[in-house]
Amino acid sequence: MVRVKSRYLLCEVNVSDRSRLLLLDDRAVAATVKAAVARIHGDYGAALCSIRFSVKYLNAHTGIVFLRFPKKCYRLLWSALPFITCIETRGQKISCFLNCLHVGGTMRTCQKFLIRYNTQQLHRMLPKCKNEEEKQQVQKAILNCSLTGRNKEAFEVESESEEDEEEE
């Protein structure tokens, strides 16, 4: 009914050196975004960025980041994202840029988008595979992308057991 509305930005961290992607860390990303906003929009921006801004999800393997901004001012904050050139984490600077893939009103829409986006990517990869081993691996990955069959059952059993635990 009535709630505080936010915008979730689904961004991709593009790095030049892929091995350093694993260094990523949600705190570091948050600090970098804040710094960028403060640099571009000054104190006003920094203040806006301090309210209800957070990094909701970060995958260090794929470089996917969910950023949450207040809906009121997300355009302003978003406009600062292209100015990020590097993320400083664990004493190292990772040069990168953020590419915004999707803007959603809820986490769920972002997640749905991400599912679609990733599967699309995998499907695109499949015809371009160079050798048989790669092809098999990608095919397997595509199969894993759905919650059907054995996978799903296992998942449900697990969730059931978990619920039972919680009831006690």
């Binding site: 260094l23 995958n59 393997h61 769920r108 599912i115 990733n118 790669e134 691996q137 894993n144 009831e167």
Partner: protein, 942 residues
Amino acid sequence: MRNQPASVQYPSSLLNAESSPKNGGDTPVTGVHEGPSDVHPFTARPKNPHQRGGWVRGHQKDGGGYAKEMSKYITAGPFARARAAEVSTMLKAVTKTTGSCHVFGALPKHMRRRAMSHNTKRLPRRLRDAANRMAGSKKKKEQAKSKSRKARRRHGNLLLEFNRRQRKNVWLETHIWHAKRFHMVKKWGYCLGDRPTYKCYRPSYRAMSSHCLLQDLSYYCCIELQGEEDKLLASLSQLCSKEAGPTFAAAVCLSGRRQGSVVVYRAGLYPSQPLGPVTFLWRPRTQGSAHRQLWIWAHPNMKQDLLPELQAVCQCCEAVVPPVLPVVTPAEVVPTVEPEPKPEKTAEAKQVTGTKRKRTFKDAGGPPAKKILGDGTRSPTTSVTWKSSSNGIVINDLTMEIVRYRLIGPQSHSVLAETMEPATDCDVRIMPSSLWWPEHCKNQSKMNLHREQADVFHILKGLYSTGELPSGTVLGLTVDDPRLTLPTKKVKALPCVKQVDEEKTRELMLRGVPEHCCQSYLWEQSVRDNVTENKISEQELNRMRSEVLVPGSRLSPTPLQGRVPVLLVHQPGKQLGHEMSSWGAGWDLLLPKGWGMAFWVPLVYRGVHIGGLNMSLKHSQNKGAPHFPHDYPDCPAGVRFQEEQETQLLDKFKRRPPAKRTNYIKHGCLAPFCCPWQQLAEEWELISRQGGEERKGDQTQTTAEADALMTSHGDIPVTKPPSRVTVLRNRKSLRVLSGWCRPTTSKGQRRCRVGEVPPLDRLALTSFLTAHGMSLVWVRLSILSKGKPELHAMVCAPTAEDLKLLKKESFSGPQEPTHKDHFKSRIRRRKKAPKKAATSSLCRDKAEGKESELPSSPSHLVVGLWPDPLPSVTAHCSRVTLGWVTQGDFSLSAGCGEALGFVSVAGLLNTLLNQPMEHRGMLLLRDPTSLHYRFAKINIEV
């Protein structure tokens, strides 16, 4: 949030991992490059954030090391695997519900209903099981199944239920009648009717002034004292003083012909520490016996103070455990009359109160429980009789033993005359019976007395108004059961003045009832019990009526049980003042217990109006008399009442939203809910004392001086030990004060008794104030122009300019400038910066100086109310405050606003002294919610 994917990142133990590779052997959680063995390392991970292992959210120190070996180039396998793992976690997150763990989260939004959250039956059936399993832990308690309505309404069960409901607050005998028609309040251990549910304010007033208003006053407590006359008088004389009016020993009361009223003080502490007003009634003397019986009627709120005091005065400390009367009753009862032993009954009653609903009675066939005819202010186990070994006085608590109805109005005697008929004789030849009346009929002297009483009662019908009788007249009587003469329709009782026996009527009006006619058998415990026990039940009476040959005719031989001894006590009307004298006079009808409803309904059928507590307040207000416990601020009961009233009013005030509340600070009203009488008296005492010292000849204005004084008041410590504030009840002093209040030159005023009053000058004033400096005086204020005084309106002294302006026709009264609310900003600041405000307000207070007495921690501040401690109450506004109003309303009898209240004696005299002769006694009234002062005329009525 449940079921949300956690971030996939490596813990920041980079340094540790580099220095000490503790995860040497076992492969860490990464799993990306581990080879084909683990198929989907991601799937197990993010669902359980609290589960260790895998990528963990947050920054743990103990986590696995940082895996450096991500290849520099993109390879299809890991890339695809990483994507696939992410997709599956996201899928899970999307399909599973987040947030609350309720099952209906799974439902689409348009199918959700609010009631589902607590009633699983609202859910679709497929989800019900899961919901039931989840809700199982917080299942509500099963409500106890109640009996069917029919079972509950069965007579015995109903009585049990009634007894259960009376455990805390006792019901009067007319409770059920009242509960159907009145707003009931629980007060003083009783359930009392406050005001009727129908609109009847004006009709009730009209009934009081022209016909008759009926009230049930059975909640008043009766305390019986028995003993030798001189010993009783000696003990009771400690409780009151002659200065405050007639005492217990007043000759006309002592003979038993009149009821008296007196304000009782703590023993030997006359001017201070009053307990409250009581009325008392002596039983007429019997020949050759010094043994006397005295009833003291007190309000239940003061009984807890009065009873210990009486016991102390009479040295009655021995509680007589079996309440068998240890005294010889002066008028002999025939010994064959065997009253039902009382202890049994109380025991039975006790048992009833103990058992809740379970039936533990031996006789299940009979009526399982009797109605408790007991008392609300004491527990059933305490004894009701105390005896003194030294002087033979016996104190008996007769609370709820006697029913007392009050009829107010000039026609109350005709209502009584129409309702009741003197008891008819019965045949003397009848066998000795257990009933009291046949036994009485055998005794010729008793029958003579009865005939005389009946004659007096017949003369009563010829009176024009109840007020014509001498106040407090008592008449004993024995009457027939009034249910027998119940009219079929409600009729209005009217006087029949035609039957004239001028001589006798005049005799009655002048002399009152002769002494021997004041005797009644109601005084005797045995007769009372006998009458109560042998009352014909309503059911039986109806059966007898149905057997009458002509339907609707009177039962021809009156049943033997239907004779009731009653006592009629005249209540004085307005005694104070000159106008409307004897307004609101009436009769009190005293009955043995158990007969309440039998008399109530016939009285109601005579066209009387019924009033509640609210009407008794209005009655005393119109009479100009203080009403207990509202107007006794110096009595413990009055203090209790004031506190109660304050919390009530404050609660009501706080129920409003803050923006809609009256800001009493801005109105300059310090105490809208509770009047600080003590502070007022102390301040005025100080002012008058200092005024006396400083001023030797110069006639400065009181107001200016008071202002000057009060500004410095905060610094001067009160050196005198604080004495309690009292209400002035000394008749002589009141008379003097009353004379001083009147303008001496105005034409309309009668100059009766003014001649004796010494002229008001400084000398008389100082001598008066040395005696009554700390006193309050009860005053009546009538407003000159329009305006309706409210509760706790301020009584203020006008300045000289105000009095000059008064001569103009158009001038309705001065205005109070709006005050500033310093606290409001403080509260606001406090809200914003809770820590800083405390310190800053402290500093600011010191800087302001005058307001240094304000509290430094305004955590309990209420917007619009002055916090404790109050600043000087007298000089807070532009006009000096003298006192407050405790009862104020538009008076229907006077046709203008009238207020009753207290003013400080010192303040009043200082004001009067500075007023010119023609305006003497002119004061100002201001409501707490208004800024407009209204002129009012002060009246002190003795």
